[in-house]
Symmetry: C2
Subunit: 430 residues, 2 copies
Amino acid sequence: RLQEGQIAVPIIAREFSSEDWAFIFEGLPKQLRLELWQTLSEDKKSPILAAMRDDSREQLVSLLSAENIEDVARSSSAEHLVEILDVLPNKIAKSLIQKLTPEDTGLVEEALNYNDEQLGRYVNHEVSTVSKGILTKDLLQEIKVEKLPPYTDSVLVIDESGHYLGQIDINLLFDCDDGQDVMQVAEFSDHVLAADLDLFEASEAVKSSGRSMLPVINNQGKLLGRFSIKDAIDVYQEYYESQMSHMGRVSDEDLFAPVFTSSRRRAVWLGINLVTAFAASIVIGLFDKVLAEVVTLAVLMPIVASMGGITGSQTLTLTIRGLATGQLAKSNLQALGNKEVLVAFFNGLLWAAVISFITSIWFENNALSAIIAFAVVLNMVIAAIAGIAIPVLLDKMGIDPALAGSVILTTVTDVVGFFVFLGSASLLLL
Amino acid sequence: RLQEGQIAVPIIAREFSSEDWAFIFEGLPKQLRLELWQTLSEDKKSPILAAMRDDSREQLVSLLSAENIEDVARSSSAEHLVEILDVLPNKIAKSLIQKLTPEDTGLVEEALNYNDEQLGRYVNHEVSTVSKGILTKDLLQEIKVEKLPPYTDSVLVIDESGHYLGQIDINLLFDCDDGQDVMQVAEFSDHVLAADLDLFEASEAVKSSGRSMLPVINNQGKLLGRFSIKDAIDVYQEYYESQMSHMGRVSDEDLFAPVFTSSRRRAVWLGINLVTAFAASIVIGLFDKVLAEVVTLAVLMPIVASMGGITGSQTLTLTIRGLATGQLAKSNLQALGNKEVLVAFFNGLLWAAVISFITSIWFENNALSAIIAFAVVLNMVIAAIAGIAIPVLLDKMGIDPALAGSVILTTVTDVVGFFVFLGSASLLLL
C-alpha cells in the first residue's frame, strides 16, 4: 500500500499520450509534479513538456536542475525543443543549442528566426516529402516502409535544394502509373502558408482549406514543414483559453503557479482596477453635499452603476467577438450601433420602471424615483455606445480589446452612472 | 456602378466555401442578408445554413417563406438538414421530413433519436466503408474511382447489416496483397465513439486519438458514420464562443438579431443583476446612520466592493477553467484553496496599504484609513474563498459555473464588502 503523498502510476498510464500526461501534470500541486516527473522515462519528457500550457511548462522547468534540462533536450525533437527553449532563461537556452546535433541546431535556429506569434516557430517537421525525379513506384515503396504520419493527406514534392514544388494528394497515389516521375502527378496548389504568417491566421487557413495539413514555406520558397489540423486545434484552444482568462482579469496561468509569481501577476490587474475605482470615488466626492443631505442616494447609487456595467459588457462582448472573427468592420458598425442602442434603450425603460417602482415604495420619494429612472436609462444607453466605441478604438490603436476593454468600460459606466445620478439629485433635491 | 444598399458578389466569391459564405452572412445586417441569399444557387444554400452559428441560422431561416425552406431542404444532405430542422418550428420540421426520400428520412430520423448535445445528432456520413468479403484489389479499384473524402485516414469495414467490424488504415492499403479479403488486413480498434456520447467529449476523444476521424456506432454496434477532427474544431469553437458570451452576460447571439429578441434575452441577465444590486443596497441601507454622519464612507465604499470583485473573479476564472478541463477535483481543491487565499491575502496587504495611504492624505482621517485597510484585506480573502466555493458548489448541483458563477460572486463581494466596511465604521466612528 502507498503512503500518503506518494505517487502511484497505474499500469494503464504506460499507454497515456503526451497530452494525457501534460493534463495530469497541470492538475498536480507543485511538490507532487517533481515526484511524478522522476518516474518518467527520458524519451517521454520532452513531448510532455511541449504539450503543456506555457505557464505550466515554465513552472515545471523551473523546478528542474540544469543537468536534468540538458538530458531532456538531448532526447528531444527540434519542434519540442523550441517550445522548451521558450520558457528557459536566454543563457541556458543558448548553451543548450550549442550541444545539439548539427541537423537539430539548423532546425531550431530556423524556428527561432520567427517570433512566438508566427507559424515558422512552431512548424511541424513530421511530413512526407519526395524529391522531383523520383518515380512514383519508388515513392509507393518508400511509403510502404516509412508509413505516412498522422493527419497526412498529401506527399509534398521538393527540389534538390528543398524548395517546395507541389503536392501529391493521397487519392492520386492509388491511381498512378508506376513509371511516372512524381512531378507528373504533383499538383501545384497555392494553398501554402508563409512561415511569417500569424499562428491564428494559419489555423483559420487550415480549417477552411478542407485539407488535413498545409505546407509551410519560408520567403525563399524553401519547405520548412507543415501545419496540420491538429496543430490548429492546439492554437485555437490556447487562444480561447487565454481570452477567457483575460476576461476574468487573470493571466493565462498555471493552476498551481507559485504564490508570489501569481500575486505579482494579479497585482497588475488589481492596481489598474484601483485607478478606475478611485476615479469613481472622485466623482462621488464631488457630490458630498447632496449625499450628506439625502443618505438614500448612497444606498441606491450602486444600482445605477451596475445596470450600466452589465449593459455595457453585453455590447462589449458582442463587439469583441465581431472584431476577433473579422465580421465587424466599418461597413456594419453603424448598423450594430443602432441596434445596440435600441436594445439598451428598451431594456433601460423596462428596468428603470421596475427600479423606480421599488424605490418609490421603499423610500416614498417620487422625485428620487424619477431621478433614478432617468439616470438608469441614460447610463444604459451610454454604456451601449461605450461598449462599441471602446473596443473599436482599442483595436485601431493595436491594443487587444479583450484585455483592456472591460476595465475602461467599467470606468465609464461608474463615472457616468454616479455623475448623472448624483448630479441630477443635487440639481433637484438640494 | 452599384447603388447604395445593393449587393455586389465579386467573381472570386464563386469559389467561396460554405464556411466563407456563412461568415459573410453573419456579418451582414438583416435586410442585406435576404438580398444576398436570393443570388445564391439552390444547392449551396443548405451547406451555408449548416455552417452558420445557431442563432444566425435561426434568424435567417425566420426570414424565409415555407416554400423557400422546402426547396432548401429538398437539395440538402441529411446532416445539413438536421442542423436546419433544429431551428424550425416542430410542425414545419415534421412536414419537411415527410417529403424526403426514404433514405434521407432514415438518416434524419436516426439523427433525431439523439439530443443536441449528443454526437449521434451530428454524425458525418461522408465516410469510406467496405463490406467484409470484398477483396482488397476491388477496394483499391473503388477508391480510385470514388476517392477518399477529406480527413480520411482509414476505411471502415462493416458486415452485411451495417455493423462496424474494424478499420483499415490507409498505410495498410499501400501494402496489401491483392487477393486478400479486407477482413485479413482490417484492425479491430476500440477507438470507436458511441452515438450517445456528449459532443464535447467526442471532440476530446478525436483530438487525443491521433487519428483524423473515429467511427461512430449506435448501441447495437451499427456504424452510423464518423466524427472527424474538423468536426471537433467546430465543436470547440462553438463551445468556447458560448462560454465567452456567457462570461459577458449575453446569450450566444447573432450580431444582428432583431432588437426585440435581443432585448428579451438580455433582460434576463439585467433582471438577475438587479436582484444582486438591490441586495447590496439593502446592506448599505442598514448603515444609513453612519453614512449620514460620515459622508466620506459613501465616497470610498465602491473601492472595497470592487477590489473584492476583481480578486474573486480571478480565482473564479481559474476554478471554472480547472473544472471545465477536469483538472480540478476533490484531491487538489484544498491545495488550490490554500494558494488562492495566500495570493489574495498578500495582494490584500499590498493594496490595502496603498488605499489607506491615499485615504489618509485625501481625508486626513487615520481611523478611516485603518477601517478601509481592514475591510479591503478581509473582503479580498473572502472573495478568494467564494471564487472557489461558488463554482464547485454550482458544478455539484449540475449548474454551469460559467453561467451563474460571476453573478453570485459579485453579490457576495458587494454584500461582504459593504457590510464589513460600513459595519466596522459604525462601530468605531459613531
